[in-house]
């Protein structure tokens, strides 16, 4: 029943009409999103306002950027719990570079470079040494943030130049922030990558049956390594945005984000067992989480209570279809 090998021994999914199931999952998410949107606009008079809605996007864009890459990783049957710690380390090293007089392009390079390096380290441990990713990334989660603590202690880095702050606070056009534009561009890139390229099809193949994929000529380890690097890269990008938005770096930055990013991915319909999922779902899930937290914020609900809603949403959205199938099977 809970045997994961049963899941894997299912007949080839490529022949199944998976598409219709996925469509229904995504339409469920759209319904949830619309419902929350309407509820928000009734609940608070301040919600339906261009600037409010623009502020809303800041709630989820950084986490959602990570979720895009995480989705591919989870589809391939792996996971990365160290993403928030990569943000902490990248942000710390950016701050350190700032102390040595780095300018804005250099800061961005440092942030993204540290992200890729951390991702590559995870990828090497998982694919090179054949270790389970969940344990490896629990380890690197402590290690990366631990290094940030060693560098910073209880201090913080401040004084980022205004040209750098633009990445986190700037607007491209009217209320459209740079963060939102970047997120949308990345979402399209990841959608194409997962759903329209050979690479994406191989990611699904690995997630459904890594051994079979290996025997059909897919370079499983190389693709997994690339996916870890991509997740690191997106964490680095998120580190740049978040550091620019906050204007300061503390070692406790982005604490708990790994769980929120993974929640987005799972809520988006990606199977935690690998092999199924879509970028559209993840984007919708990110929007839902942004709507929930922002709407509750307008109602002065404290952040910690919002997390109850997020957690309940995660379980309910996953449990409902299962209960529905069980109920339907019991009826005839």
């Amino acid at each position: 029943m809970t045997d994961t090998s049963l899941h894997r021994s299912l007949p080839d999914r490529l022949d199944n009409p998976v598409k219709s199931t996925l469509l229904s999952w995504e339409s469920l998410l759209v319904l949830v999103a619309v419902a929350i949107f309407v509820a928000n606009s009734f609940a608070s008079p301040y919600f339906l306002n261009a600037w409010s809605l623009s502020d809303l996007t800041f709630n989820f864009t950084e986490k959602a950027l990570i979720a895009l890459a995480m989705a591919l990783l989870i589809v391939a049957g792996e996971i990365d719990l160290s993403v928030a710690s990569i943000i902490a380390l990248a942000s710390t090293l950016m701050g350190l570079a700032l102390q040595y007089g780095a300018d804005t392009p250099a800061l961005v390079l440092v942030g993204i470079g540290v992200g890729i390096a951390c991702g590559a380290f995870n990828g090497f441990l998982v694919t090179g040494l054949k270790l389970p990713s969940i344990v490896v990334t629990i380890g690197t989660m402590s290690l990366f943030r631990g290094i940030a603590f060693i560098v910073l202690g209880d201090q913080s880095f401040k004084g980022y130049p205004p040209s750098f702050s633009w990445f986190g606070q700037g607007y491209v056009y009217w209320v459209i922030s740079f963060e939102l534009v970047l997120f949308l561009v990345c979402a399209i890139i990841y959608w194409v990558l997962l759903h329209r390229t050979n690479f994406g099809r191989r990611v699904f193949a690995i997630g459904n049956n890594a051994v079979a994929a290996q025997f059909s000529g897919v370079r499983v380890d190389r693709i997994k390594f690339v996916l870890f690097c991509l997740t690191g890269l997106m964490s680095g990008v998120a580190a740049v945005l978040l550091t620019a938005r906050l204007g300061s770096t503390r070692p406790s930055i982005a604490q708990g984000w790994e769980l929120e990013s993974i929640t987005m991915v799972v809520l988006g319909g990606v199977s935690i067992l690998g092999g199924a999922g879509s970028i559209t779902g993840v984007v919708l899930a990110a929007l839902i989480m942004g709507l929930v937290t922002f709407g509750l914020g307008l109602l002065n609900v404290p952040g910690i209570v919002m997390s109850i809603f997020i957690g309940a949403l995660l379980i309910v959205v996953i449990a409902l279809p299962i209960l529905w199938t069980m109920w339907k099977e019991r009826r005839p």
Binding site: I138, G139, I150, T263, I318
Partner: protein, 326 residues
């Protein structure tokens, strides 16, 4: 097989001994029995939690909600104590165990009856339980002066030269040891982890066994909730925040395989003690506590690498693992 387990735990025990010896060479007072007992006492709560987590991990599951469960149960205990100081503490402890078990059972039911992957379930309940601490307390703290004297003092009492807290750890370890090695349920935990399909054919209800593992980890979290609050004499929303990963770290360092089926009580205990010794040694040798996190991260990675080398000798099983990494 047994010898393999033994060597792994001996190796870990030697590593702990090496740390103790190295520190003692420079600071002779470190190895004094009194200090070692203090370290043991400091680590007691982590040891119990690691045993609960081990039961869950053995069944190819994971419980990320233990620390949140601990915080919620601990807050409930502290508030009951503040409101009704007359309630005897043993009764309160019983309540904590039951409440923790109920929270664990909630995880277990979702895994058992709805077949939702454990990591998803406990990711959700982690945030729910943590949020409920806030709802329950309204964000307020319960301070030492609101707690009754018994509530604070019970675990500080002394029995045969050991603090009561240490005795809690010893008794829980004994019970879990008997459960794991002398009962059908314990054997079922291992059987499921090694081969769930074969377990079904031998008449083991996989879902039900996983459910019971979650109840066990929940009950231990509940007990740890009381012990934690009465030890640090403050109940707040932030209690043990992020501790779920320390618990898993203790298991991994102790040689519990995240793929299920491998792990011993002694290993989990030693994993917890290793973290406790390192954390206690750092301030002694003058290393900033900010190094703690990075060191435990490095220890986890080292442990996984070494464990993986040990498991490779298991031949075919590793093949199954390669396709089943979740």
């Amino acid at each position: 097989m047994n010898r393999l387990f033994k060597t792994r735990e001996i190796w870990l025990a030697l590593a702990i001994l090496a740390v103790v010896v190295l520190v003692t060479l420079r600071f002779p007072r470190f190895a004094q029995p009194q200090n070692l007992l203090t370290i043991f006492n400091d680590t007691s709560i982590l040891m119990m939690l690691a045993l609960g987590q081990m039961a869950v991990i053995l069944t190819r599951s994971i419980d990320l909600s233990m620390a949140a469960n601990l915080a919620l149960t601990g807050m409930a205990a502290a508030m009951i104590n503040a409101a009704f100081p007359a309630i005897p503490i043993p009764l309160l402890i019983g309540f904590c165990v039951l409440m923790g078990a109920a929270l664990g059972a909630f995880n277990g039911v979702l895994v058992w009856k709805l077949d939702i992957p454990p990591i998803v379930v406990t990711l959700g309940t982690l945030t729910i339980y943590r949020g409920l601490v806030f709802v329950l307390s309204g964000g307020a703290w319960v301070n030492a002066d609101q707690m009754s004297r018994d509530f604070i003092q019970l675990q500080r009492g002394d029995f045969l030269g050991l603090p009561i807290l240490s005795w809690f750890a010893i008794i829980v370890a004994g019970l879990v040891y008997v459960l794991m090695t002398r009962t059908p349920l314990g054997r079922a935990f291992y059987a499921i982890g090694v081969n769930p399909t074969a377990s079904v054919y031998t008449g083991i209800d996989v879902g039900r066994t996983q459910f019971l593992a979650f109840v066990l980890s929940g009950a231990i979290s509940g007990l740890a909730g009381y012990l934690w609050i009465s030890r640090y004499v403050i109940a707040s929303v932030e209690v043990a925040s992020g501790y779920e990963l320390t618990i898993i770290a203790a298991c991994v360092i102790g040689g519990v395989s995240i793929a299920g089926g491998i792990g011993t009580v002694a290993g989990a205990l030693l994993g917890a003690i290793f973290l406790g010794v390192v954390n206690n040694a750092l301030p002694v040798i003058g290393v900033s506590p900010f190094w703690q996190m990075a060191i435990s991260g490095a220890a986890i990675l080292l442990a996984v690498v070494l464990n993986a080398r040990g498991e490779k000798s298991r031949g075919r099983v590793i093949l199954k693992k390669a396709e089943g990494v979740a």
